[in-house]
Symmetry: C2
Subunit: 455 residues, 2 copies
C-alpha cells in the first residue's frame, strides 16, 4: 500500500460542501427544457408548481447559478451519514494484479442503502418549508422509497409510496423498512388512482413499471390538498443535490494530492452518475482539467447506447411533462429476467446533452458479467454491492485489467452507490447458476420507439 494514501479518506465535517454544484451553469449547450405535453411549450414555474415544491421548481429551471447554498438543516442531516468515504481498493488492485489505482466513493453506509438519501432529505426539507402535509413518490427496487421515508420521518411529513408491484411482492422487507419509517406503501398499478385503474383494466396481469408508478404518484399529489410529488432521479434538481457526492470526492482527491483519469458510474435515470461527475465535468467544461467519464447501463435497458435522443414521456400514463433525453420510449419495459436494476426507459436531460456533446462515453454490460463482478468485489473488498452499483464495478475492473495489459498506471474512480442486502433474490439466482442475459433485438426497440410523441 501507498504510505500516503489511507484505505479510506473521510473529509472533516468542516470540509463538507456548503453549496451544491449546478453543472448546467457551465454547459455551453444547456439541456433542453421540459415541455407541456398539451401545448408543447416549455413548462413555466407556475405549471411545474402544481406538481413540485416551489423551491425545487426554481432549482429545476436554474441553468445559470453554478453554486446553490445547502440549507443548514440539510447539512445537519447530511452529518448523520456523511461525509461518505473515498476508498482506495487496495485489495482489489492486488487481486487483479493491475498497476491502476482504483478508488470508489461509497454511498451505501446509510439505512436507505444508497445515495438516494442525498436528494430525499433536500426534497423533504423544501416540502416542509413550504408548509406541505406530505409528498408522494414511486419506487422500484425500493432504495428511493426507503430514502424518502427516512427523510419524511425526520421532518414529520406524510409519505405515500407507490411501489412497482413486482418489487412490492418480491421485496416485502423493503416495504417493511418503509413502514418502520412511517410511510404508506401501495403496490402499483393500484385501484387508488384513475391511471392505475385504467392500466389494470387494459393489462389485468401486469406487474407494473416505474413509469406507471410515477403516473399514480403524480395523480395523487395533484389531487390531494397539501401534497406534492417528488422524484428520485432524472430531474435536474436531483442531479444538483447529488453533486454532494462529486464535491466530496473532488475535495478528498485534492486532500490526497491525487487526480482520477477515468470516472465511472452506473446510470439508470442518472442521479448517481450525474452527482458523481458534475464537479469534475465542470472542470472539464471550464478547460481546467480533463477526465474520461463512462456511463454504465444494463444491456437489457440501453437508453444511452441504443436509445434515441428525443422528447419523450417520463411516465406511462403520460401525465408528466415531456423531457428531451436518450430514451427507449416510455412503453419500453426490460425483459422479466432482468434482475440488475437501472430499469428506467430514459436518461437525465443533463446527462443526455453531455453525452450527445461527446463529453461522456457510455457502455452497456450484461447482467451475468455484472454479478460476477459483484461477487468478486464482495469477496475481495468486503462490501456486498447493490446490483445497480455493480455495473460500475464491472467496468472499473475491465478498465483496470486493460491497464494490466498496457502497463498504464491510470487512476480509476467509480461510484459504489449502495449495498445489496435487499437484492438477495437476484444474488440467489446468480449463486444457483440460474441467471441469464437478455439483449433486446432491434425489433424490440422499434416497438418502444414507435410510442415516442411527435414533437
Amino acid at each position: 500500500m501507498d504510505k500516503n494514501i489511507p484505505y479510506k479518506t473521510y473529509l472533516e465535517e468542516s470540509e463538507m460542501p456548503k453549496q451544491w454544484y449546478n453543472v448546467r451553469a457551465d454547459m455551453k449547450n444547456k439541456p433542453a427544457p421540459l415541455l407541456n405535453p398539451a401545448t408543447l411549450k416549455p413548462m413555466t414555474a407556475e405549471e411545474l408548481g402544481v406538481v413540485f415544491c416551489d423551491e425545487l421548481v426554481q432549482q429545476e429551471l436554474n441553468t445559470t447559478d453554478a453554486y446553490i447554498d445547502i440549507p443548514e438543516e440539510i447539512r445537519d442531516f447530511y452529518k448523520m451519514y456523511r461525509p461518505s468515504p473515498l476508498v482506495r481498493a487496495y485489495c482489489l488492485e492486488k487481486a487483479l494484479g493491475t498497476p491502476a489505482k482504483i478508488y470508489y466513493k461509497f454511498e451505501g453506509n446509510n439505512t436507505s442503502g444508497s445515495h438516494k438519501l442525498n436528494s430525499a432529505i433536500a426534497q423533504a426539507y423544501y416540502a416542509k418549508k413550504q408548509g406541505l402535509k406530505g409528498v408522494t413518490t414511486e419506487t422500484g427496487a425500493g432504495q428511493w422509497g426507503t430514502a424518502l421515508s427516512m427523510a419524511c420521518a425526520y421532518f414529520g411529513l406524510d409519505c405515500k409510496v407507490y411501489m412497482v408491484k413486482v418489487s412490492y411482492e418480491q421485496k416485502p422487507f423493503r416495504r417493511e423498512v418503509m413502514r418502520t419509517y412511517g410511510a404508506s406503501v401501495t403496490p402499483s398499478p393500484s385501484d387508488t388512482t384513475n391511471v392505475g385503474r385504467k392500466i389494470l383494466a387494459e393489462h389485468p396481469g401486469t406487474t407494473g413499471s416505474l413509469g406507471c408508478a410515477i403516473s399514480e404518484a403524480v395523480e395523487v399529489a395533484v389531487g390531494s390538498e397539501g401534497y406534492r410529488y417528488v422524484l428520485g432521479s432524472v430531474l435536474n434538481q436531483v442531479l444538483l443535490h447529488q453533486s454532494v457526492i462529486g464535491l466530496e470526492s473532488l475535495a478528498a482527491f485534492e486532500k490526497l494530492g491525487e487526480k482520477p483519469d477515468i470516472i465511472i458510474g452506473c446510470a439508470g435515470g442518472g442521479s448517481n452518475l450525474g452527482g458523481l461527475i458534475s464537479p469534475f465535468m465542470g472542470q472539464k467544461l471550464r478547460g481546467e482539467a480533463d477526465y474520461r467519464f463512462i456511463a454504465v447501463e444494463p444491456a437489457s435497458c440501453p437508453s444511452l447506447t441504443r436509445g434515441k435522443y428525443a422528447y419523450d414521456f417520463c411516465d406511462t400514463g403520460m401525465v408528466c411533462p415531456l423531457a428531451k433525453m436518450y430514451t427507449l420510449g416510455s412503453g419500453f419495459i426490460p425483459s422479466a429476467n432482468h434482475a440488475g436494476g437501472l430499469r428506467y426507459h430514459g436518461m437525465s436531460s443533463t446527462l443526455s446533452q453531455l453525452y450527445d456533446d461527446k463529453l461522456m462515453e457510455a457502455v452497456s454490460v450484461e447482467q451475468t458479467k455484472v454479478f460476477e463482478a459483484a461477487q468478486q468485489f464482495a469477496r475481495i473488498e468486503g462490501i456486498l454491492p447493490a446490483p445497480e452499483s455493480s455495473h460500475a464495478i464491472r467496468v472499473a475492473i475491465d478498465e483496470a485489467l486493460k491497464c494490466k495489459e498496457t502497463g498504464e498506471e491510470k487512476t480509476i474512480l467509480f461510484g459504489l452507490t449502495g449495498t445489496g442486502y435487499f437484492d438477495m433474490v437476484a444474488y440467489q439466482k446468480f449463486n444457483d447458476g440460474e441467471m441469464s442475459d437478455y439483449i433486446p433485438t432491434d425489433e424490440d426497440l422499434a416497438k418502444g420507439f414507435a410510442g415516442l410523441p411527435k414533437v
Copy 2:
C-alpha cells in the same frame, strides 16, 4: 450542537489500535477456567487444540498479558471497514429533551452488519496461518456466520456454517449472503452429524437451537482433517478481539476531551459488551477512572439477572468444555415468540466474573419496549438498528430520560452493534402490532437449572 464535538468522530488509520487489550490481566479474580467434562480438570492447551486453532488456544488461556499484538494482516483487513465512527446522537438528545450527552459506537457499517467481523477475521487469520483447510461454526440470527464467511473468503478458507433451522428457514437472504461469500450453510439439526441425528430422533419437530448447532459444528471440525471450530461469542479470545471496539472508543473520547459516565451494551454471549467495556473496565480495575457499566439482556433470556453462576455445558450435545458462567442451563430455550436475538443460555466467563464481583450492573428489558426504542431511534437517528443492538438503545434512552428528570448532564455511551436489514420479519410483527412479551416463570427457569452438571 456543541461546536467542538462533531456528529461523527473517526480516528485516523494511524491512530487505530495496534494491540488488543486483555482485561483478564487486570482482573484480581480471574474468570474460572474451562473444565474437561470427563475429568472435571482445567482444559489443557493440548486438549483445546483438538477443537480450536493453536494460537487462539494460547489467547484463550492467557490471563496475564494485558496487550497482545494485532498481526498486520488483520490490521489491514480492519482498515477496510474500520475505524468505526463514535457518533454523537444530537438528534436523539434533542428529541428526548435531555441534558445528557448520548454517544454510540456504530459497528454496523460492514456487510456482516455487525461487530462480529472483528473476531471473525482474527480467527480466520490464525486458521490460515496454521495451514488449515477450513473452519466450522454455528450461527443463529446469521451475523456471525456472515462475518465468518467474509473472513474465510478473504483468506481462501473453506467455511461450513451450521445455521439454527428456524433462522435458516426464516432468513433465506442471510443464507444467500453467506453463499455469495462461498460458505456452505446447513440447517441444524441436520443428518450430517451424530449429534444432529440423535437430536432429530428425540425431537423430530425441533427447529433447532444455538447449543445444538454448536455441537454439530464441533463434531464436524473434530472429525475432519485440517478443520477447526470457531465461535463468535462467549470465549475469552472473542472478547480480546472485540476489545478493538472499546479501544477505538476510548481513543476517540480522549481526542474529544470527553469521558463517558455510563457505558451500555447488549449482552447475549457477551462479545460486544465485553469488547466495548474492556479498556474502560481496565481503567476502573486499575483505579484510574470510574464508570457505570450496564449489561442489557432480553427479559425472555435473562442469564445475568435471573441465572445461576455455575459450571455449565456450552452446547446441547455436551461435547464442549464446561464453562463457569451465569447461565439458565444448556437446555433452556427462549419462548418461540422471542424475536429480539440474544438467545444464548449462558454468558462469557469474563463478564460473569465481573458481574459477580459487582463491577458491572445488568438489567433485562421486554421486547416490545426494545422495538419501540428501535423504531424511535431509526426515525430520529436514521439508522435501522438490529434487534440485539436495540436492547442497548432502550436502556440508553431510559438513562437519558432519568437525566431529564434529575437535570444531570451525564455522558452516556452505548454500543450500536449492528443493523436490522435482515430482521424485517421481527419489525413487521412489531409494525403490525402482533409482537408480545414473554417472561419465563420461576418454574420455567427451574427446568433449565435442573440440567446443570454436578461440578
